[in-house]
């Protein structure tokens, strides 16, 4: 039997007052795959992300995350920080949210709060300076160093995160999310504001994460070179509903997708005539 997909979204509906940002949406994202969520502005992509990561609570629908050990977690029932901690879903933000006054390394250490907190017995053992905590902290630094190396930020480890250039901040946010050891990494427009070279590096980084960490990646992206270049599957939303799903090549040729992005073809009379 095939194992269930990592993330299963089933009949998800999220309404804000009378406005349905996402309505009856179902799709799945697999482990070891990059799933891109695309769609015009206002299609409900970020709302979907906020539902998956618990920042919004959907009115209808099921969000199941299947861990490799067989446990199935229902994300729509969990608070945001519980999703990050127990379900191991990490995310980045459309407008970068680092801890700007803290150093780059500190940003990555804070991401390992859960592990360090347990090792320090709610900071009591740490207060006494016991060896157990010091070992855990060394391990945390090693993991942070690993991701600093991967994102090319090692030289900036002790610099204030807020003083980094924009592209570096984007990469740092990904490194910070990876330091939580997630099973599913949700990236909200990771290539926004990057130049072509940086965007190429990003593709490389994301493919590396997929192939080496074997985790699922879910990304919202407008930059088609990223979407077509690295994603294994593409999910297209428009007005909160799914209009296409499939490999990048399939989606590229799908007439519904072209319509959503470019508008109706310029022959409404013929369509009306056909219906009449």
């Amino acid at each position: 039997m095939r194992p269930p997909p990592l993330l299963e979204v089933d009949g998800l509906t999220m309404r804000f007052g009378g406005l349905s940002a996402v309505s009856d949406l179902s799709f799945s994202a697999g482990q070891g795959e990059i799933t891109a969520v695309i769609g015009p502005n206002g299609a409900g992509k970020t709302t979907l992300f906020n539902c998956i990561t618990g920042f919004y609570r959907p009115q209808v629908g099921r969000l199941s995350l299947h861990h490799p050990d067989g446990a199935a977690l229902r994300l729509e029932r969990m608070a945001d920080h519980v999703i990050a901690r127990k379900a191991r879903v990490a995310r980045t933000f459309q407008n970068i949210r680092l801890f700007p006054k803290m150093s780059v390394l500190e940003n990555l250490i804070v991401a390992q709060h859960r592990v360090l907190m347990a090792a320090s017995v709610f900071s009591l053992a740490g207060l006494l300076g016991l060896g157990r905590y010091r070992r855990a902290e060394r391990a945390a630094i090693d993991l942070a160093r690993h991701w600093l190396d991967r994102t090319g930020l090692t030289a900036f480890a002790d610099v204030e995160a807020g003083s980094l250039p924009y592209g570096h901040q984007r990469r740092l946010e990904i490194a910070r999310a990876m330091c939580t050891r997630p099973l599913l990494l949700c990236l909200d427009e990771p290539a926004a504001g990057l130049n072509p070279r940086e965007s190429g590096d990003l593709n490389h980084l994301l493919q590396g994460i997929r192939d080496e960490e074997k985790i699922g990646l879910l990304l919202i992206e407008h930059d088609m070179s990223v979407v077509m270049g690295i994603s294994d599957r593409v999910v297209v939303l428009d007005h909160g509903s799914l209009i296409a799903e499939g490999s990048p090549a399939e989606v590229r040729g799908n007439p519904a997708v072209i319509r959503a992005y470019l508008g109706e073809p310029d022959e409404p009379a013929a369509v009306l005539g056909g219906e009449g």
Binding site: T53, F55, D80, H81, V82, A84, R85, A90, R91, F93, R97, L98, F99, P100, K101, M102, S103, L105, E106, I109, V110, A111, H113, R114, L116, M117, S120, F122, S123, G126, L127, Y133, E137, R138, I141, R145, L148, T154, A157, D158, R176, A177, T180
Partner: protein, 418 residues
């Protein structure tokens, strides 16, 4: 200076004078005169001229002053942040100085007393620094926890006859419980809203203390609070039955100074303990989570940090140190009343933290010396105190908007040493 009086300055002053004249004409320029033929209007052109002239000169002076300030701040380059070792050296130097202060030749009882007062505020500042500086939760009612600590000790000691050393941890505990009690309702608030609620909380505590006559004695307060002893050695001239006095035990002549010096060392130890605790916890997961929470709460939640527990721990620990300081205050004064726990105290402690540079431990020491120490030494100039306060605040806002010492050292470096 001649070059400074350029045409644009004159023009802006003249414009202001014209506006002033127009305004002054109806406001000051006419007067009702009671003449034989009934009421009539009389002009007062001299007043209008004075108003216009005053505004002209005032405007000119303000412009010149602005220009001068601008020049001045350009000429004052911001000093680079001091390297870590100076911070370290200054810290230890100050601690050492504080340790030998009572034995220095110029130290009399008066000086030690004032130093004790300053140390209370330093300790309160360090306690509040956990809440405001590290966790970024603006607390305007911090004095409430100070009051809880003071009344805890006073009531426990008078009602159950418990000694200071038993009451000290209890007072801290009670204050921490109040910290959590305040924390729960304000978990979702930030910034201005949080400040208002905490302000209200501080006032509620004070008003309860003032009105709950049966328990707290109301506005009369509580007097005759037990003084602390050193391992059972009393500092009284005539020790109570079954106790030895400090002077007897060490074969010294009795002197009231002994107690003053003892109290000084007591608060010094309490304050240093607060400081060491803060320095240490900054490098632990909780401390880092506090700072992360201050920077971005949403990012914290996305990393699996539960903001509720982190905020409550900050409130509880900050309140605990205020509770310790409060019970020390009660035992030092021997008398407490709600008068000692007014809003102005909260504002003072907050001013110390903000002036010192949020999150900076040594900055708080400097700010406490400035705000509490200087006014104590220059009591003769008391009437200018608020004036100096205002001027100091304006100067700080102009030149050091983020406090005296605002540079932040990372809690961990890639080499492993922080």
């Amino acid at each position: 200076m001649a070059a400074a009086l350029s045409p644009p300055l004159i023009r802006s002053a003249a414009l202001a004078a014209v506006v002033a004249a127009l305004l002054a004409l109806p406001l000051m320029g006419v007067r009702l005169v009671d003449s034989s033929s009934g009421l009539s209007l009389a002009g007062r052109p001299d007043l209008v001229a004075w108003a216009a002239g005053g505004v002209f000169c005032g405007r000119l002076l303000i412009d010149l002053f602005r220009r001068w300030i601008a020049d001045f701040s350009i000429r004052l380059p911001l000093p680079p942040p001091p390297p870590d070792w100076t911070r370290f050296a200054v810290g230890w130097g100050l601690a050492l100085f504080a340790l030998v202060l009572p034995f220095l030749p110029f130290a009399d009882r008066n000086l030690v007393d004032k130093a004790t007062m300053v140390l209370i505020y330093i300790m309160l500042g360090w306690g509040l620094n956990i809440v405001v500086g590290l966790a970024g939760l603006l607390d305007l009612g911090f004095v409430a926890f100070y009051a809880v600590g003071a009344y805890s000790y006073a009531l426990l000691s008078l009602t159950f006859g418990l000694s200071f050393w038993v009451c000290l941890p209890l007072a801290g505990l009670f204050a921490a419980v109040f910290g959590i009690a305040l924390g729960f309702p304000v978990l979702r608030l930030r910034g201005d809203y949080l400040a208002i609620v905490t302000l209200g909380f501080g006032e509620i505590i004070r008003i309860v203390l003032q009105n709950w006559q049966d328990l707290t004695g109301g506005p009369i307060g509580i007097s005759g609070i037990e003084r602390p002893s050193l391992f059972g050695l009393s500092f009284k001239a005539v020790p109570p039955e079954g106790q030895t006095s400090f002077a007897e035990f060490f074969g010294l002549d009795y002197s009231a100074d002994h107690r003053v010096i003892f109290l000084y060392f007591l608060i010094l130890i309490l304050a240093l303990a607060t400081n060491l605790f803060t320095l240490r916890i900054r490098r632990l997961p909780v401390g880092r989570a506090w700072e992360a929470l201050r920077e971005d709460e949403i990012a914290c939640r996305s990393l699996g940090i539960n903001p509720t527990t982190i905020k409550l721990s900050a409130f509880a620990l900050g309140a605990m140190f205020a509770g310790f300081a409060g019970s020390f205050f009660a035992t030092r004064q021997g008398f407490i009343s709600p008068e000692s726990f007014t809003f102005i105290e909260s504002a003072m402690i907050l001013a110390i933290v903000v002036l010192g540079g949020m999150g900076s431990q040594i900055g708080i020491v400097l700010a406490a010396l400035l705000l509490v120490g200087l006014p104590e030494w220059f009591r003769d100039l008391q009437m200018y105190r608020m004036l100096a306060f205002g001027a100091a605040m304006v100067l700080i806002m102009l030149w050091k908007p983020s406090g005296l010492l605002s540079s932040r050292a990372p809690t961990i470096r890639l080499g492993g040493r922080a």
